[in-house]
């Protein structure tokens, strides 16, 4: 009896040993930074010129400052708007392309080629991509030259001085960069659906629209929820594209300033206190939004 027990325990031990690498990496790169961020958020700690101020314990003053100046709501709104502007076309085209690619009856040619091409924009560095758009859509950039010479507009259009033009450009860039990735994820989900269901539907005389909306979409729900949540978290952390496109200002009038760009502003003075408080609030916002999406998509059943 005793021997048997000890054998079970010793196997359990191996389970824990196999977990060590994950635990170590998690502790060093996730948990410790997380705790120190929360810890830092209670201190006044920044650098003025070459003089270090703090760290002095100030309690919740940093949080109070962030909440009372009201900017946080504006920047959350900006971030969500730019994310939605990119996400809607992204999910639409991904579903469409995914359905086409996985439909054996279409017999698409050069599938591998197109799959590679739609994924390619994701391989370009986001900042390089933003820099490219910044130059293309400059007041006297090539896009304006083409539009003027074609007679579409008489005066160069100032893309970067127009609130919705700037936001749309950011959304468009995110769409171009990420729809290939989403297509691949959705295709994986679609290919996991039992082929016999499609065959049965075909036998019953369902149209391809009916097949898509009655079979593919409902069975794709878990993957869709995953895509939605990862994209939402990625969207909340949007930084490099708007940062480069607006030269860090979030202009016009800070309407394209995202939460992380705002966080980055505090790096100028190495303001760990305020930066920490902002990070914690970002963490909470992300948590709440993810929870809402998760509940919403699961309860509909």
């Amino acid at each position: 009896m005793n021997r048997k027990n000890s054998k079970v325990v010793s196997y359990n031990k191996w389970g824990y040993i196999f977990l060590i690498p994950f635990i170590v990496v998690y502790l060093v790169f996730q948990f410790i930074p997380l705790v120190s961020t929360v810890y830092n958020s209670f201190f006044e700690n920044y650098r003025s010129g070459l003089t270090q101020i703090g760290p002095n314990f100030v309690g919740l003053a940093n949080y109070a400052k962030l909440i009372t100046n009201g900017d946080l709501i504006q920047y959350t709104k900006n971030t969500m708007i730019m994310w939605i502007l990119g996400f809607i076309p992204q999910i639409f085209f991904s579903l469409l392309l995914g359905a086409w690619f996985t439909d054996p009856s279409l017999r698409l040619k050069c599938q591998q080629f197109f799959k590679t091409v739609i994924y390619l924009p994701n391989l370009i560095m986001a900042s390089a991509f933003a820099m490219l758009f910044f130059t293309l859509f400059a007041d006297s950039g090539p896009v304006n030259s083409i539009l003027v010479s074609m007679g579409v507009i008489s005066q160069p259009f100032k893309f970067m001085s127009n609130i919705w033009a700037t936001r749309s450009l950011v959304g468009f860039m995110n769409f171009i960069m990420w729809f290939g990735n989403t297509t691949i994820l959705l295709m994986a989900g679609m290919m996991g659906i039992d082929q016999s269901l499609f065959e049965a539907a075909e036998v019953d005389g369902a149209t391809s629209n009916q097949v898509f909306f009655r079979i593919t979409l409902p069975l794709l729900r878990p993957i869709l929820v995953y895509v939605l949540i990862t994209s939402l978290i990625g969207g909340l952390q949007m930084f490099d594209v708007p940062q480069i496109l607006t030269n860090g200002t979030g202009d016009p009038a800070r309407t394209s300033m995202t939460l992380i760009m705002y966080l980055n502003k505090h790096l100028f003075s190495k303001n760990y206190g305020l930066g920490g408080a902002l990070s914690v609030m970002l963490f909470i916002i992300t948590g709440i939004l993810s929870m809402i999406v998760f509940r919403f998509s699961n309860s509909k059943k």
Binding site: W14, I17, F18, I20, P21, V24, Y46, R47, S48, G49, L50, I53, N69, D71, T135, A138, D139, S140, G141, K158, S161, N162, I163, N247, G248, T249, D251, P252, A253, R254, T255, K265, H266, F268, S269, N271, L274
Partner: protein
């Protein structure tokens, strides 16, 4: 049993993997050793040859090192300007590659970080704060600062008084006083020197002047831009002929901001001077009339006017803008064809200026002192800089003599000699309203006001954005 063995092996492999991540440094060092030994055996003759000169060098080294301190000179700066000055004019400087040079047997290491987004200062600050702990060869020896943030470094212990380097007041007597005022700390010690003076002028496009004003003669042009009212009238004429009076509203910013009566920050509170609000109102009027743009300085849109197709009448700038930034080396630019002219413009101003400062703790004080001496006090070298690079140098008697001398005519200005104008301007520069916050405030003010000019926010909203972004940069300030 075999299962158990397998799991032991796997677990230890994994543990080894984790540990290897922590302390992998000794491992690679051990690996190449055998290879190196093999090479030795293969080519003993070569090895011997190589060793001989190396040993000789070692024997010489101690004698020199005593006289001539560190073997590495670390220079921190934000563009190629100082490097080209040193390469072209410092006796004995040899270029090795883009970021390395040599002076005698001292290796010169250039650490060039662009100043955009404060990157230069961030990098410099990190290294200055780590200066004490750094190895002698890694210590910053010399760094450059600009007028906008010179005060941030002057009144600290990170800069070394030039007197400690052996530069005497007599040697520096020919320099313009303002260049020394700015670098003098609260105890009266001079902390840095400059080879250039940066009084600004209005740089005009001769072609546009001929077309619109009837003549590119400096007197005619000066009459058309003598004060802001006539400047606005000229702007309307320029627009009628298809020219922008200046590339962007930010071009005239310095002209207003140098003529303020209060510094940006008084007792920890941000103050916006009336003259800056005048810039806002004047600029808004110009933008609304479609007579100039709102893009940032240094942007592609801004520099379009360096070429004839850009259709820009004027830029405001000091000598370095003309010679260093206006694409004078590019075929087809206005500067390349000598198509600019210079006049005093509506108001005097200055812009920028680069100061050489020695970092506290440098291991090459003699060499640093000599660089300062040669570039900022050696009249021969300084006049060479004027001739070769069309810069305005920090040597009053030499410049006043050169102003009379046609030899010093600027090619980019079509043979005009603007030195007299610069001399007069340098005398008038007043730096009493500088603050350590200038760079952050100037940048934030221009960025914020762009929203007002573009019609995306009201003046009050734009000011609010300005205050916000300044407080983000300097949390200790209030408004």
């Amino acid at each position: 049993m075999s299962k158990k063995l397998l799991s032991v092996v796997l677990a230890s492999a994994m543990a080894a993997g984790v540990l290897a991540g922590c302390g992998s440094t000794p491992a690679p060092a051990a690996a190449p050793a055998p290879a190196a030994e093999e090479k030795k055996e293969e080519a003993p003759a070569e090895e011997a040859k190589e060793e001989a000169p190396a040993e000789e060098a070692k024997e010489e080294a101690p004698a020199e090192a005593a006289a001539d301190e560190g073997k590495v000179l670390n220079i921190y700066c934000w563009n190629e300007e100082f490097k080209s000055r040193l390469t072209d004019h410092y006796p004995g400087y040899e270029e090795v590659d883009a970021t390395n040079g040599k002076i005698g047997d001292v290796a010169v290491k250039w650490n060039i970080t662009p100043s955009t987004d404060n990157a230069y200062q961030n990098n410099l600050d990190e290294h200055l704060l780590g200066q004490e702990a750094a190895a002698a060869d890694d210590k910053i020896d010399l760094f450059l600062v600009e007028a906008d943030y010179a005060l941030k470094y002057v009144d600290t212990d990170y800069t070394m008084p030039v007197a400690d380097l052996g530069l005497t007041a007599d040697e520096l007597a020919n320099q313009y006083k303002y260049t020394q005022d700015i670098m003098t700390d609260s105890n009266g010690a001079l902390k840095g020197v400059s080879w250039q003076g940066c009084p600004g002028v209005l740089i005009y496009n001769r072609e546009a002047a001929k077309e619109v004003l009837g003549s590119d003669d400096p007197e005619t042009v000066q009459a058309a831009v003598a004060d802001w009212d006539t400047f606005v009238k000229t702007a309307a004429d320029m627009k009628a002929a298809g020219y922008s009076v200046m590339s962007s509203v930010n071009d005239s910013y310095r002209v207003y901001s140098n003529n303020v009566s209060t510094p940006w920050v008084v007792d920890g509170k941000i103050v916006i001077d009336d003259n800056l609000m005048k810039w806002v109102d004047d600029s808004k009027a110009l933008v609304d009339a479609g007579e100039t743009g709102t893009h940032a300085l240094w942007s592609d849109d801004w520099s379009k006017g360096f070429y004839p197709d850009g259709k820009v009448f004027a830029y405001f700038g000091p000598a370095w803008l003309i010679n260093f930034s206006m694409a004078a080396d590019t075929e087809g630019s206005i500067a390349n064809a000598g198509g600019w002219g210079a006049v005093e413009g509506p108001q005097g101003f200055f812009w920028g200026g680069t100061w050489i400062a020695a970092a506290q703790g440098t291991d090459n004080p003699t060499l640093v002192a000599d660089i300062m001496r040669q570039l900022t006090t050696n009249e021969q070298i300084m006049t060479d800089i004027v001739k070769a690079d069309s810069d305005f140098v920090n040597n009053k008697p030499a410049m006043e003599a050169a102003a009379e001398n046609d030899e010093y005519a600027f090619k980019v200005l079509g043979g005009q000699n603007p030195l007299a104008m610069f001399c007069a301007g340098a005398e008038k520069i007043d730096l009493s309203n500088l603050s350590p916050y200038d760079q952050g405030c100037n940048e934030a003010f221009q960025n914020a006001m762009k929203n007002y000019f573009d019609g995306n926010s009201t003046k009050e909203e734009a000011l609010d954005i300005f205050y916000k972004s300044v407080v983000e940069k300097y949390p200790e300030l209030t408004y």
